[in-house]
Symmetry: C2
Subunit: 323 residues, 2 copies
C-alpha cells in the first residue's frame, strides 16, 4: 500500500477540487491510502458528501494555511501547523511515502529541503518539469529550485533525472543533454563549459552533449539539465510564447466571415494537436533527491490533475519498490 | 552622406543577394554610399549586370572569407584580409560609419570588440535583438555576445539600449525591465538580485523592475536586459517554439478534407497575423557600445533584408547626428 499525503488547502481550487481528486483516486487505485491534510472543520463536511471506502482516506488536521503570497522561508519557519508543513513532516517521519501540493511553490521547495530533507550525498534537490516537443516529451531539471549552482550540481541533476525516468517509465539509459547556447563542446558560459566536462567524464550518464533551446523543442534528448534560473526561464518561455502564439492564431480566425467558417472546420483538429502543450496533461512535477517524494501540481489544478498526480506517485513508488 | 561597408561574402546567399540588396538600397536612399567588401573578381561581374549610380557603390577587395564553421577568435586573428576584417577596420579608421554582415556571428562579435573597438567607458558590447510580443516589439540585450557578465554590465546594457531606442525611433525614456524568474525585488539569482539594485539606483534608466519571460511575451517593457546566456536562450526559444507550434498548427490543418478546406479559408489571415513573428521582418540587429555601428543580419538573409538593414543604418546614424 502506497501512502500519499496531500495538501487539502493548497492551490486556487482548494479544498473542493483536492477532495474530489482524492475521492476519484481511491476509487481508481486499490494500492493507495490518502492522508488529506488541512483544516478538519472545512475538509470533513466536503468529504461526507461523497461515497468512498472510509479506510482509504484519513483527514489529518492542520489549523494553518500557507498562502500563495507568503514569503517561502518565513512561511515554512513560522507556520508549523500549516497543511504543507504537517504533510511534509509526515513524509520525513515515514508516515507517508509522498506529499502532493498545489500551493506556494517557493514554500514547497524550501519545505522539501528543510522538512523532508535531502537524500544522503545530494546537496541540491532539483525540480523536474515535463516539456512537450516535436516527438514527445522531455524532462527538464532543474526547472527552478536552485538558481545558483555549481557544475557538479548539474551532474547530480543528470543522475537524478536518469534514475527517475528509468523508474517512472522503464526507459533504459535515457539520453541526457546539457542546455547550452551552442552545440560545440567549447560553447557556453563558465558553468556550462565546466558541467560539460564533468558530464562527459561520468560513466553513469548517457550524455549526448550540448542541446540548444532550438534542439530542445525538436526533441534532441530525453532529459535536459541546466541551472534552475535557465530552466525556469525555459518553462516560462513555453508558457508565455504558447499563449502569445495561440492568441495570434485565434485573432487570425476572427478576421472575417470566411475565416470564422474556416476556424469552425479546423477547430477540433487543432485542439487535439495542441493537447500535448497543455501542461495540465502531465500532472504533477516532482522535486527529486529527497528522503521521500514531493510533487507539485499546478496552482489552478482541478480534480483530474489531483487524481492523476496521486496515481502517478503510486505507479512510480511501486516501480521503485520492484527494483 | 552615410558610409556603409557591407560584407559581400557573408551568409548563405552571398554574394548574389548582398549585391542585389546594395543596388536596391542606393536606389532607395540618396543619403548612402556603400562599400562592398569582398573578392573583387567575384563581386564586380555581378555588379556590372545591374544599373545604378556608380558613385554610390565602391568595391573594396578582400581576398579571404571567414566561413560559418571557422573558430571566431582564430578567424579574426588569422584572416586579416577577410571581408569581415577589412570592413571592420574601415569602421575603426573612420572610412565607414557602419559595417553589416550576415556571416559568422561569433567572428563578428569578436571582430567588433577587437577591430572596431569599444566606446570609452564601455567594457562589454551587447548584441541587440528585436522580439515580437502581444503589443508590438521589445529590444532584448544582451542577446548573446557576453555570456558571463557582472551586474554593472547589465546596467551598461540598459543605458545602451535606452540610447539606441531613443535615437532609432525617437521614443523618449523607454521602459527597461530586468529579465528574471519572478517579479518581486527579492527574486532571482545572485546576478539579477545585484543588477536589480544597481538599475533601481540609476537615475538615467526608466527601470520598471523584474520582467518574467511570460511578461516579456505580453509586452511588459520596451527594453529587456539580461546576461548574454539568458538572452540567447530566449531568442532560441522564440525560434524553436515558434517552429514547433507552427508545425503543430499545420499538422492539424492536414488531418482531413474538412480541415484542409478550413485551412484554405484561414490561411491568408493567419499568414498576415504571424508576420511579426518572422525575424526577417526586423532587419539587422546591432552590436552596441562600439566606436562605430556594427549590424548582424540573418545568415539566410536575402536582398530585401540587406536593403532594409542598410536603410536602417542610414536612418539611425542620421538621427544620431541630428541630436
Amino acid at each position: 500500500m502506497i501512502k500519499v499525503a496531500i495538501d487539502a488547502m493548497g492551490g486556487d481550487n482548494a479544498p473542493e477540487e483536492v477532495v474530489k481528486g482524492v475521492v476519484s483516486a481511491v476509487k481508481k487505485s486499490q494500492d493507495v491510502q490518502v492522508f488529506l491534510v488541512g483544516r478538519q472543520d472545512v475538509v470533513e463536511p466536503m468529504l461526507k458528501a461523497s461515497e468512498f471506502d472510509t479506510n482509504k482516506i484519513t483527514v489529518i488536521n492542520a489549523a494553518e494555511v500557507i498562502e500563495a503570497s507568503d514569503h517561502p522561508v518565513q512561511a515554512i519557519r513560522t507556520k508549523k501547523d500549516s497543511s504543507m508543513a504537517v504533510g511534509m513532516k509526515m513524509v520525513h517521519n515515514g508516515e507517508a511515502d509522498a506529499f502532493i501540493s498545489a500551493g506556494n511553490s517557493g514554500a514547497l521547495m524550501v519545505g522539501a529541503q528543510v522538512l523532508v530533507g535531502r537524500e544522503k550525498g545530494i546537496d541540491r534537490a532539483p525540480f523536474v518539469c515535463v516539456l512537450p516537443h516535436a516527438k514527445g516529451t522531455s524532462l527538464l531539471l532543474d526547472a527552478g529550485a536552485n538558481v545558483d549552482v555549481r557544475p557538479e550540481h548539474i551532474v547530480t541533476f543528470a543522475k537524478l533525472g536518469t534514475e527517475y525516468l528509468e523508474q517512472s517509465t522503464g526507459k533504459k539509459q535515457p539520453t541526457v543533454g546539457l542546455i547550452n547556447i551552442g552545440t560545440e563542446e567549447t560553447k557556453g558560459n563558465e558553468l556550462t563549459k565546466s558541467a560539460y566536462e564533468l558530464l562527459k567524464a561520468d560513466g553513469d550518464i548517457n550524455f549526448i552533449g550540448n542541446v540548444e533551446p532550438t534542439g530542445l523543442t525538436a526533441g534532441a534528448a530525453d532529459i535536459l539539465v541546466c541551472d534552475g534560473f535557465t530552466g525556469n526561464t525555459i518553462i516560462k518561455m513555453y508558457e508565455g510564447l504558447g499563449k502569445l502564439m495561440l492568441g495570434t492564431v485565434k485573432k487570425s480566425f476572427k478576421k472575417s466571415l470566411m475565416t470564422k467558417i474556416g476556424a469552425l472546420l479546423v477547430k477540433d483538429s487543432l485542439k487535439s494537436e495542441l493537447k500535448p502543450f497543455d501542461s495540465h496533461e502531465y500532472g504533477g512535477a516532482p522535486i527529486l533527491g529527497l528522503k521521500g517524494l514531493v510533487m507539485k501540481t499546478h496552482g489552478n489544478a482541478k480534480e483530474q490533475e489531483f487524481t492523476n498526480t496521486i496515481l502517478q506517485c503510486v505507479e512510480y513508488l511501486n516501480n521503485r519498490r520492484d527494483i
